[in-house]
Amino acid sequence: MSDHIAAIDAIAAKYDNDPTRLLDMLLAVQEQERYVSDAATRLLAQKLGLSWGDIQQTVSFYHLLSQEPRGKYTVYLNNGPVSIMQGYEGVATAFSEAVGCSFGSVTADGRIGLFTTADMGMGDQEVAALINNVVFTNLTPEKARILVKAMQKGVPAQDMVTDNTEYGKYGDGNNSLPSIHSMVCNNLIKPGPVCFGPYQAGAALRKCVAQSPEQVLAEVKASKLRGRGGAGFPTGMKWELCAKAEGPERCVVANADEGEPGTFKDRVLLTERAQLLFEGMAVCAYAIKATTGALYLRGEYAYLKDYLEQVLEQMRSDNLLGKDIAGKPGFDFLISGCSWVLAPMSAARNQLLESAEGRRGEPRNRPPFPAQSGFHTMPTVIDNVETLAATVQIIDKGATWFRSLGTEESTGTKVLSISGDCDRPGVYEVEFGITLGELLTLAGARDPQAAQVGGPSGRCLNAAARDTAISFEDCPSAGAILIIGAQHDLLTIIDNFMAFFTEESCGSCVPCRTGTWMLRNTLRRIMHGQGTREDLTSMRQLSAVMQKTTKCGLGHTAANPILNTLDNFPHLYDALIPEQTDIRSFDLEAAVQASNLTVGRASVAKEEQV
């Protein structure tokens, strides 16, 4: 017991007993003890001067933290749509048969726990799983059985990925560096001129310091760069708002959360272009006179943490971060390692800040906006990593060059994550304005019936939409494109999206908390042939209420999968709605089965089935 207390003390001390680093501490506890026990919660509460409930509510919010032991090995198998399309079912069965327990539980000896997760940012190499923070990709039932054997033998998860063994081998590019050693592949199919173009480290920063911050800001504004996270807010304007806000210190946060299922471009950016990103943060810092920076990394990308810290260290010794950067006296900017996020969704940036400060990822009220009062109440710029990377090239090559790429309103390039039924899933950096049809050809789409652009909260397009352009004018998105082939049941995938929203809703506001469930239940009833025409109308009405009354972006967009398919694929619903009668289809036999079993009655069956 005293060992236990000492261990918790050590973890708290590692993060200076700072309550805003609670999430880091909880992760460390989870990793060490395989769960966050009530005893650990109480100890931390005492140490940090928080209440037991404060900690409890944070633990219960994040799906990688648990209040029950999750096994010496914890397997999180992705059950998102791409995974299901690529054979999730077979892999899951292989895991549970070999391990001897079902998903959602832990073996009796406490060795292996099997759980599912919604998305891991590995859409181009599904089926993927996370075992004790180590990523395993392209899983098959055969590979699953091999992994289980290794776990039963006690091989540490990290040792299962080596140069080339039966378990798996290192991926391409930096993935094989000792500080990463991951089997993740980049799948960078089409590098473009901005994010993956020629880049000379430090060139942009040296150009920055030769100008005034105002001139740098003006150049970014002139480039007409807009946020790459999906919403497309003009970056220059955001920087200017933050630069003008009152505050003793300013902050730059790079959002590498990419929580929308189907996005994985940031993974490749972080692996191959980390320095470009960090330099972008420094460019921003110079323009808005910020002194602190933080990288907000999603939990599934934990395997990149050591590498990223190395890059930061190297940049500090190269005088590209730290004090008097690039020889400019007074230009001080430090990026404080990696903060963490575990909730796979932070479209609303206020959630990200709550999470980065160690709390439940619930949306903050606005105003104040982050530019006025953000990270630890500092005026804060939060930008997608792709946005920040682009600013480096803008400063280096000029706004005019940048504007020559893309379209009038959407300048530059977009890095897309393409997955699903195609020959070449992976990352594509293309100029804005490219059409969906061109992308489908580029990726080698196989008999597509639909393309989901922008993740579950984006748009579900049909064959008639081939001319839709990827741009802020036509179809804005964070760049996830999921190609759904004709062999798949589209509504099953939509049901998977709705499951994601019911899971991810933080529960803070009622229209989202209940609306997501009501939509999902109605959809399921329709899929079971028990729907009515009125259900279609009522789903539209409920969606309209959710769009108007929910608190953050998740709720505003949670009904999109339903609305899009009602609009673009009405025949799928029509085919499932039975001939109109006043008597609804209802499976009475199934409904009384549980009570029949309990009391020991054979069957009611005295009722005609409708």
Binding site: D582, I583, R584, V592, S595, E607
Partner: protein
């Protein structure tokens, strides 16, 4: 023309809505001028002797007999009105919807203080005449098409009376705020 026939039923309800209906007091005399009574607990007529025009349904469906009854009402009645919270949403009985039915039965017949000693053989009632509980309590509109919904727990007598008269006379119901507010 003969007078329209009205029927009523109480499914998984508490009869509170029927009580509220009776709270129309002496207006029941006006009502009998307008309608004839068909199957209803109020007159204890247990089977449909002829098809009815309007039926008031109290309560949702918690067992197989409710499903059967509601389907019979749908077949024999022109207009079905869901009366009260339980018929519309499942109401209080639906509070069990998050608890597996096995746990509900064990709590009621094996583990509760009043039954644990009295039921040493751990018997669940299981006579063939007894209806079987459904896995969940279902609102009426998930079983059959419902034409109108009168909210309240129970809906006020004025609301039930006003709605019935409107349906019978074909005039628009007057439903001032006071009649449908509940706080």
């Amino acid at each position: 023309m003969s007078k329209p026939i009205i029927a009523t039923a109480s499914l998984a309800g508490c009869f509170g809505c029927h009580m509220s209906f009776l709270d129309i007091d002496e207006r029941i005399l006006d009502l009998v001028e307008l309608v004839q009574w068909g199957k209803s607990p109020i007159n204890d007529i247990k089977t449909f002797q002829q098809d009815c025009d309007i039926a008031l349904i109290e309560g949702g469906c918690c067992n197989d007999e409710h499903i059967h009854t509601l389907r019979e009402f749908r077949k024999h009645c022109r207009i079905l009105v869901a009366v009260g919270e339980c018929a519309i949403m499942g109401g209080l009985p639906a509070m069990r919807n998050n608890i597996p039915i096995k746990e509900c039965l064990e709590e009621a017949y094996l583990n509760s203080p009043s039954t644990s000693d009295a039921n040493p053989d751990k018997i669940f009632p299981n006579d063939e005449e007894l209806p079987m509980l459904l896995d969940k309590v279902y609102p009426c509109h998930e079983i059959v098409k419902m034409d109108y919904f009168l909210p309240g727990c129970p809906p006020r007598a004025d609301l039930i009376y006003g709605a019935l008269v409107a349906l019978v006379t074909g005039q628009e119901a007057e439903l001032p705020y006071e009649v449908v507010k509940f706080d």
